[in-house]
């Protein structure tokens, strides 16, 4: 194939891929929790996407259709554009420290994420991002970001055409050699060679940003081997790819495959797989399950998989999610008494302190610590969209715990300990009471909360009386129905002959009849 042809083909593939990627991003953005709009719209979006996806697959895209779809996706993307997070001070956040622990593509992704959300860091993050992207072969990503943020980037405004050309050339020749290697291996029925060849091509496409093809080759590589360790490795690579493209169904599938033979894998690999499972649960908002995954992942050695997460991440995710979802007993059992997980918590002393402060009821420190790590959590790719919700939950739990030993409590003191105003704490408490999470009553005049002593006796009477009433009613209804059925009495369909004057028709008008016909 001539050079020009290849480049043209590449370009066409790029365009298609862009669409695919954007589509997957669109679909999964909703899943990963870009809290852009209400749930209905999300459903609509996914449905529309699925429709379009179905359309495309069926007919085979014509150029016109491609154009149209591209436009629509662009419009949608514009609407779902990630925005800066306002109201939070990100100055305490150090990008370089943060990105230090990661490797590979996730550096790029995380940097982009930060650039889009923190106004202060945008320029620096973008610059670092461009450095990273140039280490890969992903030309279109490079191009896209440079164009998009050209007004922010001052020095690197223009496209580095030299790099683009070099990369294209390089990709083409690598592709050639890899293809021929694979071909040879296939001809010689060299199983190992086939597997390796597929892996290499998978890596190649991954690097280029062609996630769909990468997945294809990884899965072929996986099928070419029976060794559980190699399978697990292929799965990990596939998972890595799927995570970048946010295609969660793939992740789940590969996780399953890899974990089938978990006994034969090293402890470390198992831990990695569990953590990835945790991340998956996180994206589907299964916070408690995710917490369990993170906590049970660790083994004797501290592990990490820097292409997706660091060991500190395990500590943060595990700690944060447990704080939000566990009750006191669970917290003690799973975190405080958990030897293995402790190692991870030690890596993130702020998180550790928050948990300990919560457990020891040191509320002022607790609240302070919580506020302090907020910026960091908000800039994490996986946690960001859930932070607000989980924070509210944690706060609620803290308030409930704070109040539990008291019979009467002065709200002013409570407000001070929680670092808010009297009005705000009153609103929080009254909401909790209304939702039955807090057993108390507010004396608004004196600003005191009184714990309710539930009168068990009158409660019992009330329950008994209502239960009795319920039973009587249900039994009567049952006897009635049994009677009716015994006498073979049911509401029957009117026969067509009985049109006028028949007893059945007296009360049914034709409209209703038509309605019923419509339902049959």
């Amino acid at each position: 194939m001539s050079q020009e042809n290849k480049i043209e083909i590449e370009k066409e593939i790029e365009i298609e891929l862009e669409k695919e990627n954007e589509k997957t991003i669109e679909i999964e953005k909703e899943g990963s929790g870009e809290e852009s709009k209400g749930e209905e719209e999300k459903e609509q979006n996914t449905e529309k996407e699925k429709e379009k996806g179905g359309e495309e697959k069926k007919k085979g895209p014509t150029k016109e259709q491609l154009e149209k779809i591209k436009k629509k996706v662009q419009e949608r993307e514009a609407a779902n554009e990630p925005k800066f997070i306002k109201g939070v001070d990100f100055s305490s956040f150090d990008i370089e420290d943060y990105i230090e622990g990661y490797r590979g593509h996730t550096r790029m992704d995380r940097l982009l994420f930060i650039a889009q959300r923190s106004e202060i860091h945008q320029q620096k993050a973008l610059k670092m991002f461009l450095e990273e992207v140039k280490k890969t072969r992903n030309i279109q990503k490079y191009r896209k970001i440079v164009e998009k943020y050209s007004d922010v980037l001052q020095d690197e405004k223009s496209l580095d055409q030299k790099w683009i050309d070099k990369t294209l050339k390089d990709s083409a020749s690598t592709y050639d050699s890899l293809e021929s290697n694979l071909k040879t291996a296939k001809e010689n029925v060299n199983q190992k060679g086939i597997q390796e060849g597929n892996m290499q091509l998978g890596h190649f496409y991954f690097d280029k940003g062609d996630l769909k093809s990468a997945l294809k080759y990884y899965s072929r590589a996986k099928e070419a081997t029976n060794d559980p360790i190699e399978t697990a490795n292929c799965c990990l690579d596939a998972i890595k790819t799927a995570m970048e493209g946010k295609s969660y169904s793939h992740i789940s599938a590969y996780l399953n495959t890899a974990q089938k033979k978990s006994k034969e894998l090293e402890l470390e690999t198992n831990g990695i797989l569990k953590t990835i499972n945790g991340l998956l649960q996180l994206t589907s908002r299964e916070f408690k399950t995710a917490a369990h995954q993170f906590i049970n992942a660790p083994g004797k050695k501290v592990f990490e998989y820097p292409e997706i997460f660091t060991s500190m991440d395990v500590g943060i995710y595990g700690g944060f999610l447990s704080l939000a979802t566990f009750n006191r007993r669970e917290l003690k059992r799973n975190i405080l008494d958990n030897e293995y997980f402790k190692n991870y918590l030690e890596l993130v002393p702020e998180m550790r302190d928050i948990i300990y402060n919560y457990y020891e009821s040191k509320y002022a420190d607790f609240v302070e610590g919580l506020e302090k790590i907020k910026p960091q959590l908000l800039l994490d790719q996986y946690l960001s969209s859930h932070v607000e919700r989980l924070y509210t939950r944690i706060r609620e739990k803290a308030i409930i715990q704070y109040f539990s030993p008291y019979l009467t409590l002065d709200m002013k003191k409570m407000a001070k300990d929680f670092g808010t105003t009297l009005e705000l704490i009153e609103i929080e408490v009254s909401n909790l009471i209304a939702e039955d999470k807090l057993a108390g009553k507010i004396d608004q005049k004196n600003k005191i909360i009184y714990g309710t002593r539930i009168n068990k006796r009158s409660q019992t009477f009330q329950e008994v009386l209502s239960f009795g009433k319920d039973y009587r009613r249900k039994t009567r209804a049952l006897l009635l129905r049994a009677n009716l059925i015994q006498n073979k009495m049911t509401v029957k369909r009117p026969r067509k002959k009985v049109m006028m004057g028949g007893e059945n028709m007296n009360f049914m008008n034709l409209q209703l009849l038509n309605l019923m016909r419509g339902f049959n």
Partner: protein, 419 residues
């Protein structure tokens, strides 16, 4: 007609004779309508109690007319008949009797005389049917009470818990059953007893059905509304509704389902929007009154929610929270609720403060223990009924037959013992 009169006079003494009389009357029934003019004369010659059977047929023939020159007369005649008739004779041709009752109510409603039918119908109910057994007359009775707005007159019948059905004895039709519960619900609604109303509407909706009847439809709509009025919570579709109609009910009652959703959100504005969107539907269904009641109820619910959370509260706060126009409005609602016993509180007008108290019912009086006793007895009675029913079914030859076949087919997996 002379012939008919003579036959009636002759064949009304013994049971055997009456049977023959009935057969005869059935045969000539249709022809009776040809002699409308003479019916009155003939009827005048027959003392009602002795000749109830014959009289009934004649009267029924007259009543089957669509229009009357002298409606008061026919109403009087039926009324007297109902009061004086002999149950044993009348029960030989029970359908005629019910037909008569039905015409009675229909004519009376047209002549705006529904209130006059209440007492005679009550007597009629007592004459026919065992106590606790549902007859078509029950439905007509309720209809009369409803039409004349004499709700409390219906209470004794409603509270006697009529739940038995025996088609052989009463020849009751499913429509009558539906109507009974529907009217019952309406009457309880009129009496503002929303709890019972919900129960009756629920009964109407859970009647076994293959298809949707409009009575059931209306019952379901009102069920939704009265359920909110009584419990303040959004109701689910009754568990035992026939599967085939559940979906249909939901679809056809969309305006109501939406209204319920709006109520659930506790947002007064949203409820208002919903009402104005579907106003036509509500008015057409004649449920608008209920809808308005429910909307009022929302305010009360919100106040009740406040009682849960607060011990003392300022009137200012209440009126703010509920988007009211002034503290007076808040005070007004509260006063009403306190009087109704929906809330236990005292208002300090000078300070503009409200203090809420706990429910002062201590449950330690003789009255309570008597009540409990009574209810326990009821429950024991019901449980006995259930047992009887269970026994009846399990010893039913058809059922045993089926179970045996099942066991043989299933390879003896099920080893349920029938007591």
């Amino acid at each position: 007609m002379e012939k008919v009169l003579n036959i009636i006079l002759q064949y009304s003494d013994t049971k055997e004779e009456r049977k023959q009389l009935k057969n005869y009357l059935d045969k000539i029934d249709e022809q009776l309508t040809n002699f409308i003019g003479q019916l009155d004369l003939v009827m005048k010659q027959l003392p009602i109690t002795k000749y109830s059977l014959g009289y009934m047929y004649l009267l029924a023939a007259k009543a089957s007319l669509k229009r009357f020159q002298n409606p008061e007369l026919i109403l009087m005649q039926i009324q007297t008949f109902l009061l004086q008739c002999d149950p044993s004779q009348v029960s030989m041709s029970i359908e005629k009797f019910f037909f008569l009752c039905r015409r009675f109510v229909t004519i009376a409603i047209r002549e705006k005389f529904a209130h006059g039918t209440i007492y005679p119908l009550k007597i009629a109910i007592e004459k026919i049917g065992r106590s606790g057994e549902l007859t078509p007359t029950h439905a007509y009775f309720l209809q009369a009470c409803l039409a004349s707005q004499n709700f409390s007159a219906a209470l004794p019948i409603l509270e006697s818990d009529v739940f038995e059905i025996d088609t052989k004895h009463t020849k009751i039709k499913i429509k009558d059953v539906l109507l009974y519960f529907y009217y019952g619900g309406m009457i309880y609604t009129g009496l503002k007893k929303y709890d019972e109303a919900t129960y009756y509407f629920e009964l109407a909706v859970t009647i076994p059905a293959d298809t949707l009847s409009s009575i059931m439809l209306e019952s379901y709509r009102r069920y939704l509304l009265t359920s909110i009025l009584s419990t303040g919570k959004a109701p689910l579709i009754p568990q035992n509704t026939s599967m085939s109609i559940q979906g249909m009910l939901r679809k056809v009652c969309k305006p109501y389902e939406e209204f319920v959703e709006a109520f659930k959100s506790m947002d007064i504005e949203r409820v208002g929007i919903c009402i104005s969107t579907y106003m036509e539907v509500y008015e057409k269904d004649k449920t608008f009154g209920l809808i308005k009641l429910v909307r009022d109820n929302l305010v009360r619910r919100k106040i009740q929610r406040l009682t849960k959370t607060y011990i003392t509260l300022s009137l200012e706060y209440v009126s703010q929270q509920l988007n009211m126009n002034s503290t007076q409005e808040a005070e007004f609602y509260l006063l009403d609720m306190i009087e109704q016993g929906e809330v236990f509180a005292t208002i300090d007008q000078k300070e503009g403060q409200i203090s809420f108290h706990a429910d002062p019912e201590p449950y330690d009086s003789v009255r309570v223990s008597l009540e409990l006793n009574e209810k326990i007895q009821e429950v024991i009675g019901l449980a006995k009924n259930l047992d009887l029913l269970d026994e009846k079914i399990s010893t039913n030859s058809n059922f045993i037959h089926k179970m045996v076949i099942k066991e043989l087919q299933g390879g003896g997996n099920k080893t349920e013992e029938n007591d």
